[in-house]
Amino acid sequence: MKLSKNELKQFREKKGLTQEELAKRLEVTRQTIISIETGRYVPSIVLALKIAKFFKTNVEKIFDV
């Protein structure tokens, strides 16, 4: 079931990172990245901010709010 829409995959691909590399940088598992990208998991505010900070952008540009 898709819970949320987000642009994480596009941002990640634009930076030329694999799911594994992004997971390592964000200190989460690869499965978590997959779940967020497919919209099966909605990250916490802390993780969402961490992702936004990593991509040097705003949270609302990555996550559909």
């Binding site: 499965q31 779940s35 993780l47």
Partner: protein, 132 residues
């Protein structure tokens, strides 16, 4: 709670078990045979040592393992599933006992029940980890 703090709590608890076991043995308390162990003290010492070994092995194994928020959330959900399962299985056992009385020894019955609940929790966690 971070893993280091959790590890310290585990070690302190297991050491407390060993200390309690030794104290009971020294003061000759709980000398009746309990669950096939000679004294309650010996039983506590046994649990303490097993706990120590498990704590060190888990720490060594999980030193590089990532535990993120999703996994914690899934573990909570698996716990919720387990509680529901426990309630359902309890009702089922009450009905089963009424139809066909359970003659199994209490200690074995409880051991099987606890093992089933733990296995169910593990299964639920694995399923949710793949599903979510």
């Amino acid at each position: 709670m971070n893993s280091e703090k959790r590890f310290k709590i585990k070690i302190l608890t297991t050491l407390l078990f060993v200390f309690l076991g030794v104290t009971l043995n020294v003061f000759n308390i709980g000398l009746n045979e309990t669950f096939n162990f000679s004294t309650v003290g010996n039983y506590l010492i046994y649990i303490g040592f097993i706990g120590l070994i498990v704590s060190f092995l888990t720490k060594k194994k999980n030193s590089k393992k990532i535990v993120d928020e999703r996994m914690i959330q899934i573990a909570f959900e698996a716990s919720r599933w387990t509680i529901v399962f426990f309630v359902i299985i309890s009702f089922a056992l009450i009905i089963f006992d009424a139809i066909m009385p359970i003659t199994m020894e209490y200690k074995y019955f409880l051991s099987y029940l606890v093992c089933t609940v733990i296995l169910f929790h593990l299964g639920a966690y694995m399923v949710l980890l793949k599903k979510k």
